[in-house]
Amino acid sequence: MEVLKNPTRNLFFTGKGGVGKTSLACAVAISLADSGKRVLLVSTDPASNLDEVLGVQLNQKPTEIPSVPRLLAMNIDPEAAARDYREKMVGPYRGILPDAALQSMEEQLSGSCTVEIAAFDEFAKLLGDRQATAEFDHVIFDTAPTGHTLRLLTLPSAWSGFLADNTTGTSCLGPLAGLHAQQQLYQQTVRSLSNPALTTLVLVARADIAAFAEAARTSGELSALGVNNQHLIINGVFRAADLHDPVAQSMQRRADQALAKFPASLASLPRTTVPLAPFGLLGADALRAIAAGRMEESAWSENSVHAADELHLGTLPVLIEELASAGRGVVMTMGKGGVGKTTVAAAVAVALADRGFPVHLSTTDPAAHLAAAVHGTLANLQVSKIDPRAEIAAYSAEVMATAGGNLDEHGRALLAEDLRSPCTEEIAVFRAFAAAVDRGRDGFVVLDTAPTGHTILLLDAALAYHREISRQASQLPTSVQELLPRLRDPNYTRVLIVTLPEATPVHEAAQLQRDLRRAGIEPFGWVINQSLSTLDVHDPVLVSRKQHEAIFLSEVTTLHASRVALIPWQVEPPVGIDALRRMGTLRAEELALQQ
């Protein structure tokens, strides 16, 4: 692997969800440890699956990996970091301040700001303070899906600026007491990130136009922040071995087409190409094989084979028929980034609009490409995007006009300063999300939501807001007051969990389902996307992958979901109204089965 030549001390992996960041970060970490270096592997992803990939239960302290000498790994769980922080703040006052005061302190320290700040603080300790990681030769960060990663990485400079500008002493960053004392640490963090001798940013992409676009966007944004030492890994590049296999040919053609449209801004970066593996990337041996470029069958073990047709798997058209019978409401596609939430949401929206319903298709995912997926117009179908920047601008303008209306110049400046805080984005996006859900009263709203971790935070915020609302309901928009009851009402909101027939996506989807259930939301059904199971494949890599996926189809139907729709891997890219319509329409043989 090219990326393993002269590696810097810090390596950051970033990329659209599902491109294989975690697997590659692990493969690189193992390879460096095998070469004699002491390596610390850190996940800052709230939806991290580092445990599963390494096969070791991790926590917030570096833990040795038994199968890999010299490798230690840790998970920074933002929720846990926030809990620790909360206890550190509240604990000393138990028995001194009254219970009501303690409770309200805890409530205040439960917000998303605290989670964000606590997670960042942990991250800065590792990167900004050399002492904390002095015993390691390399520190490798398996960072969160892109939106979150960018937030995490851009915060240092945003906060340094914010702290420098903040003259009144009280601010939204208050939950982290003594933040000014941390300023030096945060500045050191920014310096480490932009020092090419210390840090490499590894952009991970699949040979896919959307993933390339995402990598180019990330590359540009981070360059603008001074993070210029970048390396590109193109993961899972498939070369057809069987020229008579139409699926294999189409798969290779699609990768070739994407590579032909490779963004110019990425072309100058040093690059590593990793072929599509015929096996699942779990465990040290499989990861060593990837790092060494060994793809032959001896590197992986044969899996037991289940026939997919023995399982009771539905199809997308059947699922859409059930959704349509409700006549209105909200359909939300949720799941890890990269599993095809956007495509499924767009296919559902097109099918519902074709049936004559008014449909609004929208997203809260900053990295979504809805307009590109639909690529056309249809009567009854309205496509929009909840853009954080636009929402912040609108919300700030509204607050300045209403709350700021009676203030003098100094008062307005003070208010404007508080509105620049990181919380404003959360609130502005939240209100826009509630407004979108509200539209489900009059027609269909199909929401392509953000990657798992962010989605959970969003719902968590909904819960926190709900508690807040029951305490002080007054001038709140009705849409916000009604949000949580609506998300919990199975006749109003139908959640589709989208996954791929692979270990990590299925297990993350199961985790997402548990989180939703904790929040009182029962998913309507699961959609398993890009399956080879119903296709006739001959290419050895694809045959192996098809066998491998049967385990996970079986797991979903027996353990997780009562309603499953299987979407076959699409020979034609599912882009544009016609292709989306085909996905949501019964094929002739399925029609025959229905009758």
Partner: protein, 110 residues
């Protein structure tokens, strides 16, 4: 002269981080800023950020024990509580602080 404000738990001075912006908080933050600009020392404490300031003051602790968080905000001027459970107007702040109200910056009426 020193004003001490013991706030309700909230994460920022103007309350913009809540589900709705509280006009009173926005106005009060501006009024405190005005006091400062007129040479009055103003210290502002939040229960979630500086609990020790609450715990150290016997009168504040007692108020919390009898009325709970309804006692907040508490305003002390030179170590004496002058007001509890409400955000006072600029007129009141001005009289406690012996600051003249200026014509060009009209007092808020909330």
């Amino acid at each position: 002269m020193t004003f001490q404000v013991f706030d309700k738990p909230m994460c920022c001075s103007t309350g913009v981080c809540g589900t709705q912006v509280d006009q009173t908080l926005v106005r009060f933050a501006a009024d405190l800023d005005w006091l400062r600009r007129n040479g009055v020392q103003v210290e502002r404490y939040s229960l979630s950020q500086q609990p020790s300031e609450f715990a150290q003051k016997a009168d504040v602790r007692t108020a919390l024990q009898t009325k709970g968080t309804n006692a907040l905000p508490i305003i002390r001027v030179d170590g004496k509580i002058v007001c509890q459970g409400m955000y006072p107007s600029r007129n009141l702040l001005a009289s406690w602080g012996h600051v003249a109200l200026q014509d060009e910056a009209p007092a808020s009426t909330v």
